[in-house]
Symmetry: C2
């Protein structure tokens, strides 16, 4: 039997992040200010360090990774790639299934890849504190650890309903030395206003973003950090795909389909963009390569959203970005699990989808958990609910191969483990989860709430 794990040496940790902008047929549309005019880098300076702003607007193909960041990556990178022999056997498919496992990072997901970079650049800029928001807690954990590594205090505004219901992600952040506040909190004007209206407010991701941004904008020693969506976050994640390409070389294969779940988009970007580079460079192996973003039917941003300028947050504090959006006031039912509930999508991912260089598919929730359980029972690892979306799509591709007899090479990114999501698995087993298709009427309605531009 061929290898199960394909490992790399520490010297194989990429030396550069890849910037897909250099290979895009059309340059990205600029972000707009409240006046509808393109904003310059200086507009972001109050909350981001200049090094990250430069990456945000860069068109250079390769961005060097600073040595202290590579040094920190060595705690868990290169991450392993696995050949899913046992899953293939369970499915009876002729497909070769490979997955890269980002759950080996200390916080348990790909988010550490950018958290470490962001903490480093902020420390270099003399920043002593980072403020951020977190929903379920994954991103907050990654930033807490990264802050600890570079001597930065981290203040996390955690959506109150999660703060109360998911105490263990909170404890993890404490273990790594972060302060965690239930949002809305009395620490910001935004939070105080919300508490005045409703002292028992369950909070929302939009509210938590607003609190973190307010904190960062109002204190000179404090910056803001975002875990997905923005260009520099997508760049940082490309170490996933770069390593995967080296790992495929080691086994002498190349993928026919690259699959990743897509919420804010950085996980998909990280896995897929380095392969897109091969396509752009005319690599014959990549000629028919398909890059597949997988989203939930409850939040079908790419597959059913509008391609339009919209705010990045719910309350309209951020610049306007051209992206697929369900409207910044989008709110799916809270019973639905997973961190793929963002109303928008990375502008880079959105533009590539708009220009048909990548594909997208939406999958219903129960089918994703079914896939996750099949994966856990064959491959051992219990996947995060977000990652179950990629597994679902991969299994669907593998079953098509079974019908056609094609031994396609399928690759998906297992973005994280589900150790802190067992409550969702419980709900699945006890029949409390249900499928939900975001209604067409709500999507039509969103069109009327989009900010007017130009």
């Amino acid at each position: 039997m061929p290898q199960t794990k394909i490992l790399l040496d520490e010297s194989d940790i990429p030396t550069h992040w890849y910037n897909v902008v250099a290979d895009m047929p059309n340059q990205p549309a600029p972000p707009l200010g409240p006046d509808g005019k393109p904003i310059g880098p200086e507009a972001l300076a109050p909350i981001f360090p200049m090094a990250l702003i430069e990456q945000e607007v860069s068109a250079e193909r390769w961005i060097p990774i600073p040595e202290p960041v590579r040094e920190a990556y060595r705690l868990y990178r290169p991450s392993p790639m696995f050949r899913a022999h046992r899953l293939e056997q369970m499915l009876g498919t002729p497909a070769h299934i490979y997955y890269k496992y980002e759950g080996v990072s200390p916080a348990g997901s790909h988010k550490d890849n950018t958290a470490i970079a962001q903490a480093y650049y902020n420390a270099q800029a003399g920043i002593h504190r980072l403020a951020t928001e977190t929903g379920a807690g994954q991103w907050g954990c990654s930033l807490a650890l990264a802050g600890q590594m570079f001597g930065i205090d981290v203040r996390v505004f955690m959506v109150k309903v999660s703060y109360d219901q998911k105490p263990f992600r909170r404890s993890m952040m404490h273990t790594w030395g972060a302060e965690v506040f239930a949002s809305p909190s009395p620490h910001t004007a935004t939070g105080r206003r919300a508490l005045e209206v409703d002292p028992d407010s369950p909070g929302s991701l939009g509210m938590a973003i607003s609190e973190a941004v307010e904190e960062a904008a109002s204190r000179p020693d404090t910056n803001y950090a975002l875990g997905s969506v923005l260009n520099h976050v997508c760049h940082h994640q490309t170490i996933i795909g770069q390593e995967a390409k080296k790992q495929f070389e080691k086994v002498g294969e190349y993928p026919d389909v690259v699959i990743a779940c897509c919420g804010g988009g950085s996980n998909f970007a990280g896995a897929a963009f380095p392969f897109l580079a091969d396509k752009a460079a005319g690599d014959p192996r990549a000629k028919n390569l398909r890059l597949l973003a997988v989203e939930p039917t409850s939040c079908p941003t790419l597959t059913r959203g509008h391609y339009a300028y919209d705010f990045g947050d719910s309350v309209g504090l951020t610049p306007l970005m051209l992206m697929y959006t369900l409207g910044h006031d989008f709110m799916p039912p809270s019973i639905h699990a997973g961190g793929l509930r963002y109303h928008g999508d990375s502008p880079l991912v959105s533009q590539l989808y708009h220009e048909k260089l990548i594909e997208a598919v939406a999958v219903p929730q129960l089918a994703t958990f079914e896939a996750g359980v099949a994966f856990a029972r064959s491959e051992g690892i219990i996947p995060a609910p977000e990652s179950c979306h990629a597994i679902r799509a991969c299994i669907d591709e593998a079953m098509q191969c079974k019908e056609t007899g094609e031994p396609k090479v399928l690759f998906f990114n297992l973005s994280g483990h589900g150790h802190f999501d067992m409550a969702s698995y419980d709900k699945y087993f006890s029949g409390q989860l249900e499928d939900y298709e975001y209604p067409a009427a709500a999507i039509d309605e969103a069109l009327h709430h989009l900010p007017k531009v130009g």
Copy 2:
């Protein structure tokens, strides 16, 4: 900077388990039946497959690992070894600290190493169901996964108080297809009797063992599996130390001290016995090698217990084993965290300690969490509370090196992650945990409860 991770190839997964009995100066004392006479292998046949019974009584140095077991090990083995650069830096110690990380296994601890082997041999023997007990749930998870791999149904009796308070380990077992019952349960005569006396009984590990053993003994298609203590379990874990030795060769070092936490003893055995083999073989590098078992002051089996024949369970169903024991009716306060609360210890570990071939130290609880948090903040990984004991002892050794200036090579086994133990970290942070020294009077008293032998 030298390497952070020392990785091996899949071909480096050991081909044999090491049996320390072959290198012991005195042969192990035999287990005794209820009549005080040595029992033969046939006494174990109703609940164990013959292949495991043979390993239990074997004096062969090397036991071949069947290919399907090595195949399953490939999902997570060889496990990585790390050089703890960041921890060394935090401590300012000249010591070189290395740790092997068994938390990479799907269930998150070293327990998978023996669960896979036990499930395999039972499947080979035509067994369709395994019964076992679990306290906090770690062992139950490992056996659930291993059973799934080899087509064996797993029935876990989980101490009721844990069943109610730790639902996520339970969900993990469900995900891997196991049945989980709160113990005492209505499924066994033992459980029904206990429920008649007290319908709200919180259960105990002893009760859960009794239920699992009864289930196995009363059904021909069902066997029993134990996660530590027994000789064959210790053998299976030696793949840890064997891999570690290869990893030390790769970096050209050899440990001065090998450290592991010790509850039932199999984790310590797995890390330490292969190094003891070097000592027995007269390897000059191992001349001054120290092997250090670390236990809690709340359950100081080796450091303060009696070396005597005692039962393996609380209610006296098992054969008598010669071991260090605090008395089979030992019960520490339940506020105390961790899976190191067993009243006895592996007979092999006990005899080696009695003959002064290994050392032991007891550490208080708060100091172990302090060490665990320091480790998480420097090395990233949040350790299981059990593993925090090894970290504590390692840090103490490293701080001694700081005083003496000796650049000793310290090695400890990080037996598992703490992702399902965040409630214990919470209690630590909120000041709800306390130190507890098991009272000398209780230890003296235990002497009177030991079964009479001969």
